[in-house]
């Protein structure tokens, strides 16, 4: 099973939202990271055929998704970033509505709805209005609707937005269990969401895929470039002007400025426990000028 994005570009007026993107997805979880406006949602909208393509092709097992039409859509489960629901419907009614829209009717539909409500722990409130749910509960309803029809491709656009840490972990763990025979695209700008579960990570910046690979590979690529410098408040301001890509950490009463830099830094110590956040900072905040990387 393969989902191929080939030479896909998309502009909104003068703004290039995506530029010549080439990616191939197969079974597993793909974390798509990027700042706001990087092009994550545009990519998702193109994959879900909610946005008209400008150039390029999106192929599923070699066939254009437009040509596949209903067949493709019946294989996709989509959880959008924007929480969309009818306030006046109960969770059960809303899932029933979505099941019908997905062509899952009658007993099969009811069975799946019941099962999914239990999985997302909403079985006890199935007959309450979605409008009255908390943010986390609404997200779980949306996740349940995305899972209706046992889709082969699951697209989750910021699925943990607005959730507390416990709920976030719960959803993450559940998605990890699903990945065996599915293509799961998981977009987020919260790095910890995908650090532990993603098989492969894509980092988008200004409409381009700037980095793609496993977590280990991405970390290896910036090994030796992450430095921690102990300092006081005055020194911190100086350091922040000097090294733009950095993170301020408070540890045991000390201020530590964690810098990601190409250039060697004498005053700090090299860090071995590099995280995906460091990779993300490095890839999204560096400026390219004629092939040279400045920090």
């Amino acid at each position: 099973m393969e989902l191929e994005i080939k030479n896909v570009s998309k502009s909104f007026g003068k703004t290039k939202a995506l530029f010549n993107v080439n990616i191939t997805f197969s079974e597993g979880i793909y974390g798509i990271l990027g700042q706001n406006g990087a092009g994550k949602s545009t990519l998702i909208h193109l994959i879900t055929d909610n946005l008209k393509r400008e150039t390029g092709k999106i192929l599923f097992d070699g066939v254009d998704i437009k040509r596949l039409g209903k067949k493709y859509r019946s294989m996709v489960g989509y959880m959008p970033q924007q929480q969309g629901y009818y306030e006046g419907l109960t969770a059960m009614e809303f899932l029933k509505y979505m099941a019908e829209a997905k062509g899952i009717k009658g007993k099969e539909g009811n069975r799946q709805i019941k099962e999914l409500l239990e999985i997302v722990h909403l079985d006890k409130v199935a007959h309450e209005l979605v409008g009255k749910f908390s943010g986390g509960m609404k997200q779980r309803v949306l996740l349940a609707q995305a899972l209706l029809g046992e889709p082969k491709i699951l697209i989750l656009d910021e699925p943990t937005a607005g959730l507390d840490p416990k709920e976030r972990i719960g959803i993450r763990n559940y998605i990890a269990k699903l990945s065996k025979d599915k293509i799961i695209l998981y977009t987020t700008h919260v790095v910890s969401d995908i650090e532990t579960i993603a098989n492969e990570i894509l980092i988008l910046n200004k409409g381009e895929v700037v980095k793609q690979g496993t977590l280990q590979r991405l970390i290896k690529d910036i090994k030796g470039k992450v430095i921690e410098i102990s300092c006081n408040m005055e020194q911190l301001q100086q350091l922040q002007k000097q090294y733009l890509i950095g993170n301020v950490i408070q540890r045991e009463g000390n201020i530590i400025y964690r810098v990601v830099s190409e250039q060697p830094i004498l005053e700090g110590r090299k860090v071995s426990d590099i995280s995906l956040e460091d990779v993300f900072l490095y890839e999204t905040l560096k400026v390219h000028e004629k092939g040279k990387i400045h920090t």
């Binding site: 909610n50 019908e100 062509g103 949306l142």
Partner: protein, 643 residues
């Protein structure tokens, strides 16, 4: 509104008019056919292949088939009332638009991309929605028109539906040979079909234009252009085709079915009714297919279109204006624009504009005569006017004597006139005398006053009187309905928006929000009432004219009963009525505002408001039982209290 004299006069006029119509039916048709034959020999009408020749031929053909049917005496009143009552179409159109707004909810609620992504969330869903829309309109149409028919029968009595439709003599332009029952079903079907077509067009526009605000403007613009085309293009104009190939024209079903008219369609004469049917079919097919295709193809995420840019620009202007207002201005802006109150208000004003138009039936010669006499004699009463009145009286009495003699001759088989004709003439003379007697009574009521006035009371009866189904309350009822929709849910809106809790912790006085709402409500009521009653007055003034407000109030029969206002002028009485009405409307507004506090959602508040305030008011208007005198409309019915 109906302009009528007393009921027995009205009925007799109708019967005589019908009898006269039936007696001259064949002659009239043969006259039309004869004229057509003559014209077809002449000049441009003789030119074969031309529109004029085609028009003549078609007219001959259409009228010739009328010779096959024979009209009969039938109770016309329920049919006329039902045909002329076009409010059903407006209500049905609003009903259809509500459906469309519900379909568009998925876009507002952020569900569009999710549903668009599903297997059956495109073409199939669009098709299902189209079926729901059509079914909703059809069911609504059946219920509305069915209930209106039952009401007409209840008010005016039943009639034989198997009689040919040509028996309805007031519909002079009908060239159909079908029965009344078939004709009514055809009209009902056409009304529903037109609304279905309009709904399909509106939905297509809403689908194409992403920005709801711009979609509404586009619909209003297209509707306005069509309306202007229909009313501005002349009958014989080269653009006549666009006058009738037009949504506004199709909406005017009453005129289509009761007026005979051929339209020049590329040189051929096609009946307006046939053209309308063809247009309906075409629009339905094209519109339905477009709806489904556009719904299926339209992507939820699109490029920033010009509509969004225009909306953004207009919103920025509105925002700049609002930012310069105090909270009172913002509150007004919220109610009218954010909560879309302006739409409700505009619909209400259109409604008042239409219902305030007096409907006068062509054959009502009594009304015409009354107007004629009043136009001649009204104003400050003088010696010359008294002499003129006496002279007119003499003339009528002379004529009455003449016809009475003719009646005796008929009895002796010596008369040269038809008995029915003589009876109608005698009846007319008596009616004219009754008009003059009314004028005398108006004079007598002002005995002892310094100046005696003659004022045409018709306009005041139309606005304040209990004519037909109670016109005096209609405008007030509409204002009350607007208040229910705008203000019953206003506190619930704040609760829904979580503003109540937020405002509660601010350093502002207690009940800040309620005081703000009350201030806004009072201003809105004054604005609505002024505009609504002005529209009503304008419509009546345009039709019957109302002057001499400085005249004594007792010159108007309906104002004579008040003990307190005998020495007042008409102007003073009107001022008193409207100030009291305004006060009672404000009181009603307060009641609705406090009523709305009980609810947490706008929908529940407005629904309950409709049940508690509007439905009893409707029952009061229809005179259904004493218990409905506890409705809010009864509270505001100042004229009832005073007179």
């Amino acid at each position: 509104m109906q302009v009528e004299n007393d009921s027995s006069t009205y009925v007799f006029e109708k019967i005589f008019s019908q009898i006269s119509g039936i007696n001259t039916y064949k002659d009239n048709i043969e006259q039309v056919i004869g004229q057509a034959n003559q014209m077809s020999q002449v000049g441009i009408f003789a030119k074969k292949g031309s529109y004029n020749a085609s028009n003549i031929e078609k007219t001959k053909k259409d009228y010739t088939k009328l010779l096959e049917v024979t009209p009969e005496i039938v109770n016309e009143m329920p049919i006329e009332a039902w045909i002329n009552y076009s409010m059903c179409q407006w209500i049905l159109l609003i009903w259809a638009v509500v459906f469309i707004f519900f379909f568009m909810e998925e876009r507002k609620k952020g569900l569009w991309s999710m549903i668009h992504m599903t297997r059956e969330g495109r073409y199939r869903l669009a098709f299902k929605r189209l079926c729901i829309l059509i079914s909703g309109i059809v069911i609504g149409g059946i219920l509305l028109q069915g209930s209106t028919w039952l009401l007409a029968v209840w008010l005016y009595g039943a009639c034989d539906l198997t009689v040919p439709i040509v028996s309805i003599t007031s519909f002079k332009g009908i060239t159909s040979t079908v029965s009344i029952g078939t004709f009514l079903l055809k009209v009902a079907f056409l009304r529903v079909s037109v609304i279905v077509c309009m709904a399909v067009i509106i939905w297509t526009i809403f689908c194409i234009i992403r920005t709801q605000f711009l979609a509404v403007i586009s619909v209003a613009f297209i509707g306005g252009v069509q309306f202007l085309m229909y009313h501005s293009i002349g009958e014989q104009s080269p653009m006549e085709f666009w006058k009738y190939c037009n949504v506004a024209s199709c909406f005017d079903i009453n005129t289509i079915v009761t007026d005979y008219k051929n339209v020049n369609v590329f040189g051929y004469a096609i009946g307006r009714e046939e053209l309308t049917c063809m247009l309906i079919m075409l629009v339905f097919i094209v519109g339905s297919v477009s709806c489904i295709v556009i719904n299926g193809m339209m992507k939820p995420i699109g490029s920033i279109m010009i509509g969004a840019k225009i909306e953004k620009y207009l919103r920025s202007i509105a925002s700049k204006i609002a930012s310069r207002c105090n909270n009172f201005g913002i509150e007004l802006y919220k109610i009218l624009f954010v909560q879309k109150g302006i739409v409700v208000v505009i619909i209400a004003f259109v409604f008042i504009w239409n219902i305030s138009k007096p409907v006068v039936y062509n054959y009502d010669s009594f009304y015409e005569y009354k107007n004629q006499i009043y136009s001649m004699l009204q104003g400050e009463w003088t010696e010359q006017k008294e002499q003129k009145l006496q002279q007119i009286e003499e003339e009528i009495k002379t004529e009455l004597t003449k016809w009475t003699k003719e009646e005796q001759l008929v009895g002796d088989n010596k008369g040269e006139y038809d008995a029915i004709y003589i009876m109608s003439k005698i009846r007319q003379c008596n009616l004219k005398l009754s008009v003059l007697n009314e004028i005398r009574e108006q004079m007598d009521a002002q005995k002892g006053m310094d100046t005696i006035w003659l004022v045409n009371p018709m306009g005041y009866h139309l606005i304040f009187g209990d004519i037909g189904y109670g016109n005096s309350g209609m405008s007030t009822f509409v204002i009350i309905s607007v208040l229910v929709i705008l203000f019953c849910g206003t506190m619930a809106y704040e609760k829904q928006s979580n503003m109540v809790t937020l405002l509660h912790v601010q350093a502002i006085p207690n009940n800040y929000l309620m005081k703000l709402k009350k201030k806004t409500m009072i201003v809105c009521i004054i604005m609505f009432a002024v505009i609504a009653y002005s529209l009503e007055w304008y419509q009546v003034y345009k039709s019957v004219g109302m002057n001499y407000f400085q005249a004594n109030a007792s010159s108007i029969p309906m104002f004579q009963d008040s003990l307190y206002m005998k020495d007042w002028t008409i102007f003073q009485v009107l001022l008193c009525i409207y100030i009291l009405r305004l006060f009672l409307l404000v009181v009603s507004g307060f009641i609705m505002l406090y009523f709305g506090i009980l609810f947490d959602s706008v929908l529940s508040a407005v629904t309950m408001g409709i049940i508690v305030f509007i439905i009893p008011s409707i029952c009061y208007l229809l005179g259904l039982g004493w218990i409905f005198k506890f409705s809010i409309l009864f509270l505001c019915d100042v004229v009832n209290w005073i007179f």
